[in-house]
Amino acid sequence: MCGIVGLFLKDKSLEPQLGAMLSQMLISLSDRGPDSAGIAIYGAPSKNEAKITIQSAKPDRDFRGLEAELAKAIGTPVTIAVKSTHAVVRTTPAKIDEARETIQTLRPDIRIMGAGDVVEIYKEVGLPEAVVDRFDVRKMTGTHGIGHTRMATESAVTTMGAHPFSTGADQCLVHNGSLSNHNNVRRELIREGMKFETENDTEVAAAYLSSQMAHGKNLGEALEGTLSDLDGFFTFVVGTKNGFGVVRDPIACKPAVMAETDQYVAFGSEYRALTKLPGIDNARVWEPEPATVYFWEH
């Protein structure tokens, strides 16, 4: 099964509530996937700052002293905000790639959840409510976000196997379904130079989109490509720095409902996820068509 949600705000006055709204949407779909859960939140951009979300199974050991060591190694101030097993590293955008490489040298057991100017990604094994509580997601503000609650099919129940998957700056993806040609596509992407953290099929879809966008396609064009290049069942919800997209495979057996008002565009695997959104009774509610790309950009 799996449950996926997405929320793209049009009305700035809702931005302080993004974390709370997305958390509630995801928790309402807990029975679609009890294995693990994750959320990506796109916060306010800052000119002088980029972020890396990192994760460790032993945060006490790995995060202690990292801020000073990293700042010294890259010669630039760094701040690290620890949230349970995750931490958000902030530094100047010019140093973000160097910081990422240095973290992995200084602390080989740390995993990178995602990086970019605005995105923060939190995911763990457990029910959505536990994951949301652990990372205090309800208090997060932002412009858009996506979430996932997982019933594992294609790879192990681990933190790294949870969604969202991020394979490019400020890009991430959640998936309901299963891909059958992911091994082939992964091999092709590795040849192109893409790096993979897991054996998971969804990570391949995320990397495919990152690769397409790196070749100059926009989000809509990249999503269009999934229809011919990825084989299997999928409903994807995708976030980029300023955009939000949805696509379903041509068979479209993985459920999807969308709602749009003047204030937001929302996605849920089921209508249940949308019932507490403001103005939902007067929203335009529809089922996204098979093999049809939907995307919005700020």
Binding site: A252, C253, P255, V257, E270, Y271, T275, P290
Partner: protein, 241 residues
């Protein structure tokens, strides 16, 4: 849960179940507890908010009005009740219905009326993919459009569509009758357009009447059904399977 949330003021007032106050299991158990000849013939369900399995397995001739949108499998296995959803329905509405009727005022998601054996399913909006898949005698009337792979392996019964049909309509169909007023994107394997004879016009008029459709003539529809070439395996048809 407090008993006061069950309102039962007079014999003809509906028995109201607010799903914000009571659980779905309490609603369905109360419906299943109905004895033949019960006076509690009118039921109203408030705040369904996408709940799954609302009013499944009802086997008494009662009227159930659901005020809002429902999730998976609403009215599944219905046997004799009249269910009206004043909203939209999730996947599998009326799945395996035996008799009675279900009306959806909004849209229905995928596989509406799947495997239905009898009764009438009316969708006043659009139905999504696989509408009437493996239908076995149910009558389905859709005011809007239906999605791809509808009436796949449909065995008997009637599917009436006032709008358009998606790809692969009636793939591997047996003896169900399909009536479509608008365009059909494509027909599935072994499904063909058929002559609309007097008996079909009469049958279709009856279906439109039962579904409360007015201002639409049976002559505006085309009939589709089985070419019956896939019933028995023939090596020349191997590519069609």
């Amino acid at each position: 849960m407090p008993a006061t949330t069950l309102s039962k003021t007079a014999a003809h007032d509906p028995r109201v179940f607010d799903l914000d106050q009571l659980s779905l299991r309490e609603l369905n158990q109360a419906l299943h507890n109905l004895a033949p000849g019960s006076n509690e013939t009118a039921w109203e369900v408030l705040n369904p908010k996408g709940s799954h399995s609302v009013a499944v397995g009802v086997d008494q001739p009662v009227a159930i009005d659901v005020r809002g949108s429902v999730g998976y499998y609403c009215g599944g296995m219905n046997s004799g009740s009249t269910i009206t959803v004043h909203g939209s329905a999730g996947p599998g509405v009326g799945e395996n219905m035996m008799s009675g009727s279900i009306t959806i005022k909004g849209d229905a998601s995928q596989y509406a009326g799947a495997t239905g054996k009898g009764g009438l399913l009316v969708i006043e909006g659009n139905a999504s993919s696989r509408c009437g898949i493996s239908m076995k005698g149910i009558d389905i009337v859709v005011h809007g459009n239906i999605g791809h792979m509808s009436a796949f392996m449909a065995q008997s019964g009637n599917l009436v569509v006032l709008g358009d049909a998606g790809d692969a309509l009636g793939d591997s169909i047996y003896e169900a009758r399909l009536f479509v007023r608008g365009k059909v994107d494509s027909l599935g394997a072994d499904c063909i357009a058929k002559e609309m004879r007097a008996e079909h016009l009469e049958l279709l008029q009856g279906l439109l009447d039962r579904a409360g459709v007015t201002g639409v003539k049976p002559s505006e529809f085309k009939r589709y059904g089985s070419a019956r070439t896939l019933y028995n395996f023939n090596i020349d048809n191997a590519d069609a399977y």
